[in-house]
């Protein structure tokens, strides 16, 4: 049995690429996330990875994100916020929180 993770590439309102992840990311499937990111061509504004529907993210997933920190933006939920803060990822990657009021979107 593998962990359920659905990765859906797409585009944001500004036309930038968006990768939407739904499910859980752990050691078992972090490589799928890495592959999906790496499949997306580099762009400006950079790739947005929408993690707001991710219920679990572990250090394997974090490592994937850290390695690509310079070319991604993140959208997360309150569930993952503490993890991103604790790991320090939030300091080097732009993180947009879906639970925040819309006017802080940036």
């Amino acid at each position: 049995m593998t962990t359920a993770l659905v990765l859906t590439p797409g585009h944001g309102p500004d036309g930038s690429p968006v990768l939407r992840a739904v499910g859980e990311i752990d050691l078992d499937n972090a490589h799928e996330l890495a592959a999906a990111i790496d499949r997306t061509p580099e762009s400006d504004p950079p790739l947005t990875i929408d993690l707001s529907a991710v219920e679990y993210l572990d250090s394997a997933g974090l490592t994937v994100l850290f390695a690509r920190a310079d070319r991604i933006r993140l959208v997360t939920s309150r569930l993952l916020n503490p993890l991103l803060a604790v790991s320090g990822l939030a300091r080097i990657v732009t993180v947009h929180n879906v639970d925040d009021p819309p006017d802080t979107c940036g």
Partner: protein
């Protein structure tokens, strides 16, 4: 099959006989059985199940037997053979069980039948069975269980009996109880009858060992009388009331009393044909006849104790009966000695009374005033000799009556002497005819004057007759005086002649005579013949009585013949020789014949005065004194009295000397008080006559000085003074003078006073001598103690008992025999207590230890009376002491044995028994330390000590060697050759045991101590064996209990505790159970059966199984309990069992429960809120069946804890149950942060009282949710499902979502680490996640089999990043690498 080298081993007798290899000896005998001839056939063909059963049987060291197959063929093991089978071995092997145990088959057959039919085990405790294993039907007790044996197909084909023989215990306890009761007589002293009644009641309580008991007491004539009986109705031919002297006449030979040994007697005579059976199948066949012996005493009788025919009359049985008889004998001896002592005390009191009566009535009341009447009267008569006739006549009347009164007083005096046995006679050989004629002739003139004829017929007798002259005078003169009084015409005659070996003296008259009706009372004291005509109305009615007594004192007789109006004849018959007289009163013939004394004068005078006055009687003033004594110097047999005269006036001194020398006194004169005192002290005279007014020491001071000195206190003093008046004389008498004369006094007056005083003194001295003789003849020690507590008199027996003689009298207080505080504080305290108790009492008694002059301790029973000394009026204490040391030792031994037995009986384990015994030994011998060293067959010696700090290694080497040497000494024989203590060796179940009693004080260790110690050691040996058996039985029982009281494996999240009550073998009926139900829920049960012991335990086992089975069928607690009602109704002893039954859903904590009279469950929430589960309650089980039971629901919130328990946890005597429940709730609340198992221990500890629990206690704890345990293969694909389960569990823990997420990530990292390492090193290895929660804390553990390399500073790798995450998200993370794997522990406090 392995065979030990060098051990002899016989080859198996038959093929397949290797089945008997479990035991060498029994196995060999089993192998020798001709199995082919039995229903089982040859062993080679036995089914495996039988082979297994036999091999288990043989290898067990617990007594067992089994029966197998259609014939119930008998097998047993070595332990059973030894303990129970007796002579039936090896005959019994391979036989039908019904044949082996034919005599008890009625008892055990149905039990075995039940086992075979139902497959259910039986249980019997101490069942009485009459087995025939020693050649006779024997009363025996067995605790045993029959359990079914199944064959290879599971069918019940036999049964196994595990048995514990309890005969010795049951019977020993029964006998011990009787002996203890016999020794526990609470009243101090009782009569023989009470003693026997007490013992009889005790005997009656034990009809098994003493079916009937007869107590015969020996009578003086050699017969024996039935004094007490129990077990037989009155008048039963086996219990005749009187046994004639000599041979057996339909009863018991009365001569048994004279034997020293007990004797076994068969009850086969005609008298025993109809004996009762005493609740047993048949009547007793033998009796033990035991003499009632006391050491140093003749047997008081004997005791017949019928014996239990179902017990061998072995040494122990006989010993028991003899001990019981010993109790009776001791009781009788005690009662008798008490009675004898009582009698002696009465005698002393009587003596005292007679003495007091004598002195107060006679001397003071009569003699003194009489002297004071007669003295002045003489003066008056001389002075008024020529006064008018009327005056003289009146003076004569006074004088005559004074004389009469004096004679009366003297007669009374004689009587009191005779009565008190004080009449000191001196019988000398006399020619009786001449002596009597001489006396009679004195009366001739008076008879003549009365106009009567006086005939004397007194030819000399060939042989002398022994008489006391003084007494004989009184006899003859009284009779003559009497004759003269009642004879008005005719004659008076005196004759003496011989008749055979008697001298016969007859005095006849022709007087008025005595009516025939009065004749028999003639010699009665104070009996007067009314209306008899006589010369005078005077008459006390005492003269003839005195004559009668005096004749009797001579060993003679006096008779009277009389006819009214014709006259009277008195005939005295005296034997010749001296055989009839007390040897010490016989005196040799006087050197010269003596003249009749002046004693006749008063009689004559009186007689003459009664006659018509034809001529003037010539009174003889100097002899007219009322005292009838002979010469002034006293009785003729005595030396003349010595008188010391003290007066400063030389003329007076000379006059007094002359005056007193004339009548024969030996007089010495001194001129002043001091000289007098010195002279008296140097050589005490018989009398002191002293002037009051003297220079230096005056008369009063002299008297005081004399009285103050014990040596001279008794010297009589007559004071002379010029001071007249009553006050002066009172002063003199007060000072202690015996008499007081006021100058001027007449010579006659002085002589009279002197004579009186001397006579009084001599009388008193004689009395004293007699008293001393009496006192010295007492078997008991006698003492007199003055008002200061000083002992002033003792007797010979007193000296014999205490070693202190009269030479050191007086013994000042405190006397040398009192135990000293420093050397013997215990005895000192006992004596002080006893004496304090007696202070201020008029009489009393006590038993106290005193110290003999040679230092050894003597126990004496002392009695005392406080009396007033008649002479001095002082309050003194007279008392007796009796040596009761031997009785004391015997009593102490009996008491020690009883209390020792009690302590041993109370002991609940082997060490307990030893410790109790040692404490008792220490108390008995007042020892410093008592040590016990056990020398086990393997290993170092084990030391037990009353001093808790000692152990073997710390003992001095010298002592260790001494103990080691002692161990080979013969058992039960005290070793006393060391100064510092006494040793004794005894058999301990673990090896030889050396007991050492260290001496604290130098008390002699005598023969009684030796005897007692070896008896105690014997008891201890038995006690230790018994305690050892109890230990083993308890272990068995506890193992059994633990095995059936609850599941051996509990699901996670539960904790249980069971604590048996502390008494031996008192296992209980408490249980708990946790049942996994098919629907995923969990059944929880805690129950409590009524009662204790294995009986309750077996009931509990059945209820537990039933409850479990019911829960598996129906998950409604109410319906389960309702079904239990019906089930319990069929099980004896199950009624009133309380049960708490609950069903828990682990998923949501919902709990359904019902309680059958059980205390409420306690639920404590994570925040400490505590609630009681007290709904759903109804009656205990089986109280009412067929009724629905209530059910309640509640939910266990996350992190809450549930406590179910039995009432032993919360029940305390005299405290409300709610208090205990509150305490349990508090313990639960305070411990809610602990893991559930630790919490269980904490609750048990918190609620235990000082001595543990009185009742057995079971508790069951559950915390919701139960810990989570997930074991998974080390593959990353496992992470998601593991996470799922963890998330669900964390939600059940009631944690907020961010916390859940943090824990999930941290746990996920730990698992991922484990998978990476596990995967790398050992593909497919297992990883374990374990999570628990308390009210306040979460704990996770991840364990793998890999070996981590903990990444250092490089935290950008995902593993390094994982550890950092764990540390950041949890409060405490510990990673413990090990050779077999790595463990990650993580903790998180739950904040609300």
């Amino acid at each position: 099959m392995g065979q030990p080298e060098g051990v002899e081993y016989e080859p198996p007798a038959a093929a397949g006989a290797d089945v008997f290899g479990g035991d060498h000896e029994v196995g060999r005998d089993l192998a020798a059985v001709d199995w082919a001839a039995t229903a089982l056939g040859a062993p080679a063909g036995w089914p495996q199940s039988l082979r297994t059963a036999v091999s288990i049987l043989l290898s067990s060291r617990f007594p067992m037997w089994m029966a197998w197959g259609e014939d119930l063929t008998f097998f047993c093991n070595a332990a059973y053979r030894r303990v129970t089978l007796g002579r039936k071995y090896p005959w019994a092997l391979g036989r039908r069980a019904s044949e082996v145990w034919a005599e008890i088959w009625d008892d055990i057959g149905p039990r075995i039948g039940t086992v075979l039919a139902t497959g259910r085990a039986t249980w019997d405790e101490a069942l009485l069975l009459f087995v025939e294993r020693s050649g006779y039907p024997e009363e025996s007790y067995h605790t045993f269980s029959y359990s079914p044996l199944r064959d290879d197909d599971g069918l019940v084909v036999g049964m196994l009996c595990v048995v514990s023989e309890e005969t010795e215990r049951v019977i020993g306890e029964r006998r011990m109880a009787t002996l203890r009761d016999l020794g526990s007589d609470p009243s101090a002293v009782r009569t023989e009858e009470e003693t026997l009644a007490f013992a009889t009641r005790r005997f009656a309580q034990n009809p098994y060992d003493l079916p009937f008991v007869l107590t015969y007491l020996a009578q003086p004539d050699g017969s024996a009388r039935l004094a007490a009986a129990t077990g037989l109705p009155a008048g039963h031919p086996a219990a005749p009331v009187l046994l004639p002297p000599g041979g057996p006449a339909g009863g018991w030979p009365s001569a048994y009393a004279a034997r020293a040994e007990s004797e076994l007697v068969a009850l086969d005579g005609h008298a025993f044909a109809d004996l009762p059976t005493f609740g047993r199948p048949a009547a007793p066949t033998h009796a033990l006849v035991v003499p009632l012996l006391r050491r140093g005493d003749v047997p008081a009788g004997f005791l017949v104790a019928a014996l239990n025919r179902y017990r061998a009359p072995d040494e122990s049985y006989r010993g028991f009966v003899e001990l019981a008889a010993g109790h009776v004998a001791a009781g009788i001896a005690g009662a008798r000695s008490y009675r004898a002592q009582q009698r002696r005390a009465d005698e002393l009191a009587e003596l005292d009374r007679a003495k007091t009566a004598f002195f107060s009535n006679v001397s003071h009341e009569f003699r003194t005033p009489l002297t004071l009447i007669m003295g002045p009267l003489d003066e008056l008569r001389t002075r008024l000799s020529d006064a008018d006739p009327r005056t003289r006549e009146e003076l004569d009347v006074i004088h005559r009556n004074g004389l009469r009164l004096g004679r009366l007083v003297n007669t009374l005096l004689d009587f009191s002497r005779i009565e008190a046995g004080r009449m000191q006679a001196s019988f000398e050989p006399v020619e009786l005819a001449a002596a009597t004629a001489e006396l009679a002739s004195v009366f001739r003139s008076a008879v003549d004057r009365a106009g009567l004829a006086f005939t004397m017929d007194c030819p000399p007798l060939a042989d002398p007759v022994h008489i006391d002259r003084g007494m004989w005078e009184k006899i003859v003169l009284n009779l003559l005086s009497n004759a003269l009084k009642f004879t008005f015409d005719g004659s008076i005659g005196v004759s003496v002649h011989r008749e055979d070996d008697h001298a016969v003296v007859t005095i006849t008259d022709t007087g008025t005579g005595v009516p025939a009706t009065e004749l028999p009372r003639l010699f009665e004291r104070f009996h007067r013949i009314e209306n008899a005509r006589s010369r005078s109305d005077e008459g006390s009615g005492i003269g003839l009585a005195l004559v009668h007594e005096l004749v009797r004192a001579h060993g003679g007789t006096i008779t009277a013949r009389s006819r009214e109006g014709e006259g009277t004849a008195f005939t005295i018959r005296l034997p010749f020789g001296t055989a009839h007289l007390p040897p010490d009163a016989v005196a040799p013939a006087p050197a010269a014949p003596t003249r009749p004394s002046t004693a006749a004068d008063p009689y004559l005078e009186e007689a003459l005065r009664r006659l018509p006055r034809t001529e003037a009687a010539a009174p003889a003033p100097s002899t007219d004194m009322p005292d009838g004594a002979a010469s002034p110097g006293g009785r003729s047999a005595q030396p003349p009295a010595r008188i010391l005269v003290a007066d400063d006036n030389a003329d007076m001194r000379e006059y007094l000397g002359r005056l007193l020398s004339d009548p024969g006194y030996r007089v010495r004169t001194v001129a002043d008080g001091l000289t007098a005192l010195a002279a008296i002290r140097a050589d005490a005279p018989d009398l002191v006559v002293s002037d009051v007014m003297m220079p230096g020491l005056d008369g009063l001071q002299l008297v005081a000085a004399l009285r103050a000195d014990p040596r001279t206190a008794a010297v009589p003093v007559v004071l002379l003074s010029a001071r007249a008046g009553q006050e002066a004389s009172i002063e003199g008498l007060d000072a202690g003078a015996d008499d007081y004369l006021v100058k001027p006094f007449t010579a006659a007056e002085l002589l009279a006073r002197v004579r009186t005083t001397i006579d009084m003194t001599r009388l008193r001295n004689r009395h004293m001598q007699w008293r001393t003789a009496l006192v010295d003849s007492l078997q008991d020690g006698f003492f007199v103690c003055d008002e200061h507590g000083d002992v002033i008199e003792i007797n010979a027996a007193f000296t014999a008992i205490l070693g202190h003689g009269p030479e050191n009298l007086p013994y000042r207080h405190p006397q040398p025999w009192w135990p000293e505080r420093t050397t013997d504080p215990e005895a000192h305290r006992l004596v002080a207590d006893a004496l304090a108790e007696l202070v201020g009492r008029e009489h009393g008694s006590c038993t106290i230890p005193v110290t003999h002059r040679d230092g050894h301790q003597v126990w004496v029973a002392a009695t005392f009376n406080r009396v007033q000394e008649p002479e001095s009026g002082r309050r003194v204490v007279v008392g007796t002491v009796r040596d009761v040391t031997a009785e004391r030792h015997a009593a102490r031994r009996a008491a020690a044995l009883a209390s020792f037995g009690l302590r041993l009986a109370e002991a609940v384990s082997l060490p307990d028994a030893l410790t109790a015994a040692m404490a008792e030994l220490r108390r008995l011998w007042r020892a410093g330390t008592v040590l016990a060293v056990l020398f086990p067959s393997h290993g170092a010696p084990v030391l037990t000590s009353t001093d808790p700090d000692q152990d073997w290694d710390r003992l001095p080497a010298e002592q260790r060697e001494a103990f080691t040497a002692l161990r080979t000494h013969p058992a039960l024989s005290p070793v006393t050759d060391r100064a510092d203590g006494i040793g004794i060796v005894l058999e301990h179940p673990g090896g030889p045991l050396v007991l050492w009693i260290g001496r604290q004080e130098q008390r002699p260790f005598g023969e009684p101590d030796r005897l007692l110690l070896s008896q105690l050691a014997g008891r201890l040996t038995q006690g230790l064996v018994r305690a050892h058996q109890i230990d083993q039985q308890r272990e068995t029982a506890l193992t059994l209990q633990r095995a059936i009281l609850g599941p051996s494996h509990l699901p996670e999240g539960f904790a249980v505790r069971y604590e048996p009550a502390t008494r031996p073998l008192e296992v209980g009926g408490d249980w708990y159970d946790v049942v996994a139900l098919p629907d995923g829920r969990t059944g929880i049960v805690v129950g409590d059966c009524v009662g204790r012991g294995l009986t309750a335990a077996t009931v509990m086992g059945q209820l537990r199984s039933a409850c479990r089975a019911l829960l598996l069928q129906d998950t409604s607690p109410a319906r389960v309990l309702a079904a239990m009602d019906r089930f319990a109704a069929d099980i004896p002893g199950a009624m009133c069992t309380t049960v708490f039954c609950a069903v828990l859903d682990p998923a949501d904590g919902s709990l359904t429960y019902s309680s059958a009279g059980h205390p409420p469950g306690i639920l404590t929430h994570g925040d400490g809120t505590t609630v009681l589960l007290q709904d759903g309650r109804a009656l205990p089980l089986a109280v009412r069946t067929g009724e629905d039971r209530p059910e309640a629901r509640c939910t266990m919130p996350p992190r809450s804890t549930l406590l179910l328990y039995t009432d032993g946890l919360v029940e305390r005597r005299r405290r409300p149950l709610s208090e205990g429940i509150d305490r349990a709730g508090a313990a639960l609340r305070e411990g809610r942060a602990l893991p559930v198992d630790e919490l269980a221990a904490r609750v048990m500890a918190d609620l235990a009282s000082d001595g543990g629990y009185d009742d057995d206690v079971a508790i069951l704890l559950h915390r919701h949710p139960a810990p989570l345990e997930v074991v998974f293969r080390a593959e990353s694909g496992q992470l998601a499902p593991v996470r799922d389960r963890l998330r669900g569990w964390l939600n059940r823990c009631g944690l907020p979502t961010p916390t859940v997420q943090n824990v999930l990530v941290a746990a996920g990292e730990a698992c991922a680490n484990a998978i990476e390492h596990g995967h790398r090193d050992a593909p497919g290895a297992r990883v374990r996640l374990y999570a628990t929660v308390t009210a306040v804390e979460l704990q996770l553990t991840v364990t793998d089999t890999g070996n981590w390399k903990i990444p250092g500073h490089r935290d950008d790798t995902d593993r390094g990043r994982g550890v950092a995450l764990m540390n950041a998200l949890m409060q405490k993370v510990t990673i413990t690498p090990g050779s077999t794997g790595t463990t990650v522990d993580m903790q998180l406090r739950i904040v609300r």
